[in-house]
C-alpha cells in the first residue's frame, strides 16, 4: 500500500509522451514503416537508431502529421493523431534533418516568426527570442542573415527554432549529421541540457556514438520495425556480450579465422580491417590470437540489423 505513494511508482504511471501502435506507412509498393510499436516515456532521451532507410524519418514525420499513417494508432503528449495534431505540435519542438531555414532572414527574424507560429504571447516574444539566441550561442549573430552563417551555426539556429516555445517534447531527426566533431559536441551538450530540464527528447540517429552518449533508452529500427529496445548497456550485453575479440591480419588469414568462427558457431563480422568475434568471454582455448576489447553498441547494432555503419 505504502508503495503506491512512492514517487517512483507515480513516475512510471505517467502516460508515455509518444506512443505508436501497429503503425504502417507505405509509399506505393514500399513499406517504410511496417507495424511499428513504440512507447517513449516522458522525461527521457530516447534514441531511435537505425541504418539509412530503416524508416526513422518517416516515423518522425508521422509524429507531426506531415506524413499520415495508413493504419495503426499514434498518440503524442496525450493527443490523438492526426485529429489533434495541431495541439500536439503546439507543445513539441521539431529539429529536422534537412536545413530548412529561411536563408533570406536574420536569426532574430526567423526566431520571431516561429515564436508567433508557436503562439508565444506578444509580450513574451522578445524574451523568448533572446533566450533562444543565447541557448544556441548566437546572441552576437542575432542580426546576421542566415546565408552568411557557418554550417554549425545554422544547425544551432535550427535547434533554437525548435525550442523557442519551451516545448515539453523535442523531436530531433539526425541532429548532428554532416557536422564536424566539435560542433557535434556542442549540440550533444545542448541536448543533454534539455534532458536534465525534464524535456522528453526523441532523437533519430544512425551515429552509434550519439545514441550511446545521449540516449537513456535506445530502440533499434530496421526495415520499418523495432528489432530491440533497452538501455544502451543492456542492448550491448544482450546482443554482443561483454567482450569482442578483434583479429588483424592479411585477408587470407581473416578469411580463415572467419571459417573457424563459423565452424565453432561463433558470431563474427568484418569490422574495417579486422574480424570481430562477439562474446569473446565465452570462447574456449580454441580462440585465435587477437585483441580483446569491451563490446559496444555498434557490435550490438550490427548483430541486430546485419548492417555495417559507415
Amino acid at each position: 500500500m505504502a508503495q503506491q505513494l512512492d514517487p517512483g511508482t507515480h513516475e512510471r504511471a505517467q502516460p508515455p509522451a509518444i506512443s505508436l501502435r501497429n503503425v504502417v506507412k507505405r509509399f506505393g509498393s514500399i513499406v517504410a514503416v511496417d507495424g511499428l510499436n513504440l512507447a517513449v516515456p516522458a522525461g527521457v532521451c530516447f534514441g531511435l537508431l537505425g541504418p539509412n532507410g530503416a524508416g526513422k524519418s518517416t516515423t518522425m514525420r508521422m509524429l507531426t502529421a506531415q506524413a499520415l499513417a495508413d493504419s495503426g494508432e499514434i498518440e503524442v503528449l496525450g493527443y490523438e493523431l492526426p485529429r489533434e495534431s495541431k495541439r500536439a505540435r503546439m507543445e513539441m519542438g521539431v529539429v529536422p534533418q534537412l536545413d530548412n531555414l529561411d536563408v533570406e532572414l536574420t536569426c532574430r527574424q526567423i526566431l520571431t516568426v516561429f515564436a508567433r507560429l508557436y503562439r508565444v504571447p506578444g509580450g513574451e516574444r522578445a524574451d523568448a527570442v533572446r533566450r533562444a539566441l543565447e541557448l544556441a550561442n548566437l546572441a552576437l549573430r542575432a542580426d546576421t542573415i542566415v546565408r552568411e552563417l557557418s554550417g554549425g551555426m545554422r544547425r544551432r539556429l535550427l535547434v533554437a527554432r525548435g525550442l523557442i516555445h519551451r516545448p515539453r517534447l523535442v523531436l530531433l531527426d539526425e541532429p548532428t549529421v554532416g557536422l564536424d566533431p566539435q560542433v557535434r559536441q556542442e549540440l550533444w551538450t545542448l541536448i543533454d541540457g534539455l534532458r536534465s530540464e525534464g524535456v522528453t527528447v526523441l532523437m533519430s540517429t544512425h551515429y552509434i556514438e550519439e545514441a550511446e552518449r545521449l540516449a537513456d533508452v535506445v530502440a533499434v529500427m530496421s526495415q520499418g520495425k523495432i528489432v530491440a529496445e533497452g538501455a544502451p548497456a543492456e542492448l550491448v550485453r544482450a546482443y554482443a556480450g561483454e567482450q569482442v575479440l578483434e583479429i588483424y591480419g592479411p585477408p587470407e588469414q581473416l578469411a580463415a579465422a572467419s571459417d573457424t568462427a563459423a565452424r565453432h558457431g561463433w558470431q563474427s563480422r568484418r569490422s574495417g580491417p579486422a574480424l570481430a568475434i562477439m562474446r569473446a568471454e565465452t570462447l574456449d582455448g580454441d580462440a585465435p590470437q587477437g585483441v580483446r576489447r569491451p563490446a559496444n553498441l555498434e557490435d550490438a547494432f550490427v548483430a541486430l540489423t546485419g548492417e555495417e555503419i559507415e
Binding site: Q14, K25, F27, A42, G43, T58, R61, T64, A65, Q66, A67, L68, L77, G78, K86, R87, R89, M90, E91, V94, P96, L98, N100, L101, D102, V103, E104, L105, Q109, T112, V113, F114, R116, L117, Y118, R119, R161, R168, E197, G198
Partner: protein, 271 residues
C-alpha cells in the same frame, strides 16, 4: 517539471481550435511582411514604372491613332486596363514562383508545417498576403494615369478591393499551378498559353467587342475581363447593377481556385 508542463495543456484544452486560426495566419504572414521589408523598393519601383511604360507606349503609339475607345478617352481606357494586368502579374507569378521555391527549394513549408500550422492555414495566409499586396499595388496604374490626365474619382478606392478579390483568385491559381508543376520550367507553358491570352482578351488595351463572336464568348469566362469592367466602372464613377455580376464571377473564381489550390498542395505537402 511535469506539474508545470501540465498547466498550459489544461489551459489549451479549454479553447477549441478553429480550422483557420487567426494566430497561425498572422504567423505565416509575418514572415511575408519581413521579406517584403527587404524587397518593397524593387516592387514599388516596378509597379510604378510598368504602367508608365504602358501608358507612354500605348498613349504615344496608339494614342495618335485612337483618341477614344467607345466613350472613354484612351488614357482612361489604358490606365484602368493596366490595373488588371498589374493585379494579374502581381498575384499569379508570386503564387507560382514563391510557392514552388518555398516548398521545393527552401523547404520553408516543411518547417512551418512542423509548427502548429495546417496546410490550409499556410496556403490561405500566403494567398491572403499576395492578394493584399495586389490590391494595394493595383492602385499604382491609376496614380500614374492621374499624372497622365485621368480624373481622380472616389470610386477609385474601391479598386483596391477589386484588386484584392481578383488577386485572391489568381494567387490561388498560381499556387494550384505550383502544386501540379513537375519543375519550375513548366511555368513557361502556363505563362505563354494561359496568362498572356488572359491578359490580352480582357478588354485591357483594346475592347473585347472588336473580337470575333467566339472569342467574345470566351472572354466572358475570363475573370480578368470582369475585373477590368469593374475597375472601369468603379474608377470612372459608373457603377451599376451589372457590376454585381462581375463581382460575383470574381468571387466564385477566387473561392474555386482557393479550394483547388489547398486540395492539390495538401496532397503533396502531406505524405
Amino acid at each position: 517539471m511535469s506539474v508545470q508542463a501540465d498547466v498550459p495543456v489544461a489551459r489549451a484544452r479549454a479553447r477549441p481550435l478553429r480550422r483557420l486560426e487567426p494566430a497561425a495566419l498572422a504567423g505565416v504572414m509575418s514572415r511575408d511582411v519581413v521579406i517584403f521589408g527587404r524587397y518593397w523598393k524593387a516592387t514599388t519601383f516596378s509597379s510604378i514604372v510598368q504602367p508608365t511604360i504602358y501608358l507612354l507606349a500605348f498613349g504615344l503609339g496608339f494614342g495618335t491613332l485612337v483618341s477614344h475607345i467607345g466613350h472613354l478617352k484612351y488614357v482612361e481606357y489604358v490606365a484602368t486596363g493596366v490595373v488588371a494586368t498589374a493585379v494579374l502579374f502581381s498575384s499569379a507569378f508570386p503564387g507560382m514562383f514563391n510557392t514552388f521555391v518555398r516548398w521545393q527549394f527552401q523547404r520553408t513549408y516543411d518547417a512551418m508545417l512542423a509548427a502548429p500550422v495546417d496546410v490550409e492555414e499556410l496556403i490561405t495566409a500566403e494567398i491572403l498576403w499576395i492578394s493584399l499586396r495586389a490590391g494595394v499595388y493595383g492602385l499604382a496604374p491609376l496614380l500614374v494615369g492621374i499624372a497622365f490626365g485621368l480624373d481622380p474619382d472616389p470610386g477609385m478606392l474601391l479598386v483596391a478591393f477589386i484588386g484584392f478579390l481578383t488577386g485572391f483568385g489568381f494567387a490561388s491559381f498560381g499556387v494550384l499551378i505550383a502544386a501540379v508543376a513537375k519543375t519550375i520550367d513548366n511555368f513557361n507553358y502556363v505563362t505563354s498559353a494561359v496568362l498572356t491570352p488572359l491578359f490580352l482578351v480582357a478588354g485591357t488595351f483594346f475592347p473585347v467587342s472588336a473580337l470575333p463572336a467566339g472569342v467574345r464568348t470566351v472572354a466572358q469566362f475570363n475573370p480578368l475581363y470582369h475585373c477590368v469592367q469593374l475597375v472601369r466602372d468603379a474608377s470612372l464613377g459608373w457603377l451599376q447593377l451589372a457590376d454585381l455580376g462581375h463581382a460575383a464571377v470574381l468571387l466564385a473564381f477566387a473561392v474555386l481556385m482557393w479550394r483547388l489550390a489547398i486540395w492539390q498542395l495538401s496532397k503533396r505537402l502531406i505524405d
